[in-house]
Amino acid sequence: MRLFKYIMILGMVTLTALVYVHQQVELVKLSYEIDCKEKKLKEILDRKGVLRYNISNLESPSRLERVLLERKVSVFYPKKGQIIRLARKPSYAPNPSLRVSGLGERAGIFKLFDFLSGRPEINAREK
């Protein structure tokens, strides 16, 4: 009985120690994982920076001009009468037909349920 008690206490102490060690091991593992992910993130951000720089470089007016010159591409401004401006309706403009098809003005008590429809957004956009 006494021996069992000792074994139990020893077991408990060992278990606690193991849990503690396991926790520390996990922390270290997690640290390595964070470190690895941070490195990856940094690499990706660096890559993004380089790509953005390359875009700026490629879009640089002086470079574009040089390339056009090398390829013997001549660009001219259009003369008067060569440009025809078409009146266009922006594609994001609210469609008036929406008013008829369920999203139109509501009256009386039904106005209270406007928040369920897309009505407030349309109103905001129209403003």
């Binding site: 922390l27 470190d35 941070e38 940094k42 660096d46 920076g49 879009e59 002086s62 401004y77």
Partner: protein, 565 residues
Amino acid sequence: MHSGTFRARQIFVFLFFLLSLTILLIRLFYLQGIKHSFYYKIANEEHIVSVELQPKRGTIFDRNMRVLAVNLNRISVYANPREIKDKTKAVKIISTVLGVNADFVTKRLSRNKGFVWIKRKVTNKEAAALKKFNLAGVGFIDESKRFYPNAASACHLIGSVNIDNKGQEGLEALYDEYLKGQEGFLVSTQDAKRKLLHSYREDFLAPKNGYNLVLTIDEVIQNIAERELYKMYSKYKAKGATIVVMDPKNGDILALANFPNFDLNNPAKRQADSVRNRAINDFFEPGSVFKVVTASAILNENAVGLNDKFDCENGAWKVGKRTLHDHRPHGIMTFREVIEMSSNIGTVKAAGILGSEKMGKYMKLFGFYERTGIDLPGEVLGMNRPSSRWTSTSMLAIPMGQEVTATAIQLASAISVIADNGFLVRPRIVKRIENESGEVIKEFQPQVKRKVISPTTAYRMRVLLMGAVESGTGKKAKVEDFSTGGKTGTAQKVEPHGVYSHDKFMASFIGFAPVGKPAIAMAVCVDEPHPVYFGGDVSAPVFKNVVNESLKYLNIKDTRPVVVK
């Protein structure tokens, strides 16, 4: 007997272990108790490290958020000479891979130090090649390097940074406090392989990245201005050339370029002469472009009417000991024609009616006695005497742009007064300062300095200068699709011994377009062009081409004034 021996052995073993345990306990007490602080310090030095976290230097954008300067990551190579065993081999590998002089590497590695730089900010390719050798005692540190996608474009404005990313010239220097950001730090535990254990962070302060600058420069107009100016600079083998393109309404500098220039990505190769920002660092006698100031003063004071006539003495007029010359002989001309044809004699005669005091007053109003206040470092102030200290012959020289000095930026500001209905605005380069997420930290509002002339005079001047382009000396500044106004200038440079040169000239043109509602004002100055040296031949075509392309790019429609003769 046997049991006695066994008992004695038991006691011996027990005592042995007891003694060992006691020794261990004493040792433990010694290490953990008495020498605790000593070993704790050593352990901390080994395991706990403090790392400086470098901020990212802010980006410089043009007015349309196109990148002009940005920081990218680069790897720097260092060595711990004490850890390198075979130095000869290391020198050979490092010098071959990094392209560094072997003697230099040998010198570095022979130092008795724990840290020496080998090469900073190497290319990723070089770093990867060196890493493959896995040299003991050679390490790599991440740093960042400034890159400029447009290379030499706007180099005098943007300026440069040193190896430690500290601004040295131009906007990089002037706004260094905003651009550089604030360093952070991290105190953390590291493992045996010197890997940081983030879960055991003890202290952390994130670095604060630098703010971004948004300039008033337009990358496209800057390119147009540089291209056109370079054509003339190289064609006429000039010593230098400058162009300033400005929005007269708010003083925004849309383009500012100088030649010779240098590649911002390769500052080591630049020539001493190419570093100067001539637009703000060089002052010179402006010559006939200064007649814009004289004519504005005359018209604003109603000293002379546009149709008043002057005898231009057939090109030579002797006043006292001095003889004034026109570049072409003229007879009797109206004041309008005097300015259009850029007659020195006619201008001096008209200015005589105005008087020196008023002439001095308008020079001051136009800003020739002060710096423009442009937000660039090193703007110089010309050497202009107040009218009270003018000599008896000053009024024979100053009205036609001699005995006065001006910088290109001052000339651009002066022509902006005419273009902006008589108001002098402070030229500005930086529009706003933003943080990383685009929130505005500081905004620079357009600043009207003062009213110089009345809107009516400004309008009359615009019409007058349109005439100078359409039928006067500035014909080569005429643009097919836009009305333009401006004034040519061909100033003789002063030789070191104080005499006017006969073969060194400053060819200038200042102007604006469209005349009805000017959207851009410009000053073009070409220093010592050869063999052609007239402002109307050298600088006016630059103005013409820049106006034509810039206004089309800005989608500005031509507006012509209603001309009342």
